[in-house]
Subunit: 261 residues, 3 copies
């Protein structure tokens, strides 16, 4: 078994990441979001600011047709209610039929054992990526064999893990990217992780390499966060500024600020 | 049958529109909103900024008393779930009993056949106005006879159609108003059409001519959008600025900027 | 029976209030919020800005474990649906078992008799505080004996009443605090009362004297409102600025502006 540090990429990742972000803006993929009530409005506005298009219904009568005509799917567990579970089940089924990429965001599974078990089950259904924080990863991996590391977990589960925190780490089991962008104010605004996951879905819609797509999304949100912090005077103005920063984020701006390897 | 261009108004519409907006602020009508989760907070804040008052419950036990004591009703199909369908059914019944004007916003019916059929059914229940975009109108009118135009559809359905886009068109079958206000950033913020529909409801609450009320609401949001764009640096600041712009929108500001005929 | 004016405090309340706000930031309590869809995002961001942490699920499977591990609970009746009633029932049961303080916000009970009756029943289940406006208090107290005043109601119900308006009044039956901070723009933004209630819950989490905790929360939001108004150009920017103002609110800023006695 290779060491994690041997997996560390030495090639330039920032340039292909910038390509991904440009293609999202050019192709404007529609991302169907099953997400929690706290995050819905902010998620829709983040997708629009990045050039993608959101849809949000969770109705059982409609979820099938909305997902079938979408370009990617987000399943966020921030509200673990019966309606959203039913919606997620049907949506993932349709995504599998259509070959649609989807992202799992197992929000706060460290706070609720039933939610953690549900998330572990969803991982077996083939998300292209899972975006979470350290506590959530620990809860998810605790069902796996002892000593499970991030990149090993990703490899075993055949998915990409995008772990966000002060430094973001993205691995598909074979490759690891680390991103040192972002700003402390990102932890002071609700649903910031949720919107990052939505952006991962938008990138998966136009990039078949899920590791690259996930890295591009987390890099873009981190760089936008730095741009927003330069104008913000607190968490309220920051939440507004990050939408403006995502909107104006271009290839040069991303490359100038990217701290990814 | 008269030609659509013959219907084009040549009288001054801006002045009566300004009167409508002033009366909303003076009378502060309460608009009960059955609307989607993405739009709820923004809708409430837009109504408050325009001088109206929002209420939002969809509970079957309460919807009757909330609607009966309201001044207008909004039915927005952005979430087509069983709870909202039940709420809408009861709310429309009470609105009919009380003579309360109501607005239909058939969000994204072009994406879902069951939702389009539901919207077509609601049109038969007497909304004073239907606010939608081009794709939604096409989906709605596709159930109607071939070659259905906007003004003919409005006349046949005995309602007012408020079609928003780069240019807004409002018709009751006999009259047509066109509004050339607005800004591209309005398409970059989620729920902008939803809040326009809520403002139509607020105007219907204090103006019996539904064509004039709808025109006034779409004119006000378009002019406010231009005012907001003058201060905004992107979609995030725009969403905030349009609330401030609506709040300070007065008669002179509206008349100075209005491009309506 | 003593006169209400005899209850008026003559001691310095501002200093212990500043202590409470400092302790919220130092200890970062988690507040579980059962609140309405309009208020959820703003509530989460207000708690984060004040240094607390929000959680929001209403799922019956999870509410127990989320509340058991929280530091305080908010029950807001802004959406009086079956799911939230079930969640509230279970959450209050767990709060009682765990000795967790909870706040009731009986939103708009003046508009709906079933909601008022439900609120009156919840008061018997031991909220440490009830935050409401004048119309809501009248609806709540109307079930009580004639001539019920705020401080008498609080004493009889063994809770703290935090009545917000141009002047806020807080009483536990034995003591009365009046707060003359705040700004008219606070009435122009949706869910401002809801977020004040959430802040009351955060203060109850770290302060056993519920009258002091409630006074501290309402004082903090009032002072933050004044700070926000100094930067705002309307209700949109105000909603953003109040988050920034809460974030930077410190002991000196609170004491300099406090008008509480």
């Amino acid at each position: 078994m290779r060491e994690a540090d041997r997996l560390q990429s030495t090639i330039d990742i920032a340039t292909p990441c910038a390509d991904v972000i440009e293609r999202v803006r050019a192709r404007s993929p529609r991302v169907h979001c099953i997400t929690n009530a706290v995050a819905q409005n902010f998620t829709a506005n983040v997708l629009l600011a990045a050039g993608a298009r959101p849809s949000m219904t969770i109705s059982p009568e409609e979820i099938g047709s909305f997902v079938a005509s979408a370009d990617a799917l987000l399943v966020n567990l921030g509200t673990f209610d019966a309606a959203r579970r039913e919606a997620a089940d049907r949506a993932i089924e349709v995504a599998a039929e259509e070959g649609l990429p989807w992202v799992l965001d197992p929000v706060l599974i460290d706070r609720s054992q039933p939610r953690a078990a549900y998330a572990a089950d969803l991982v077996t259904r083939g998300p292209r990526a899972v975006r979470l924080n350290r506590a959530e990863f620990t809860a998810l991996a605790s069902a796996a064999p002892e000593g499970e590391t991030l990149w090993r977990y990703a490899g075993d589960a055949r998915t990409v893990i995008g772990l966000t925190g002060e430094t973001d780490v993205v691995s598909d089991g074979a490759r690891v990217a680390t991103i040192r962008n972002g700003h402390p104010l990102m932890a002071r605004v609700t649903a910031m992780g949720c919107v990052a996951s939505a952006l991962v879905a938008a990138c998966l819609a136009i990039e078949g390499d899920a590791w690259l797509a996930t890295t591009a999304a987390l890099l873009a949100i981190g760089v936008a966060g730095e741009g927003a912090a330069a104008h913000a005077r607190g968490p309220g103005s920051f939440a507004m500024e990050i939408l403006d920063a995502l909107d104006r984020l271009d290839r040069d701006g991303l490359l100038a600020r990217a701290k990814v390897q």
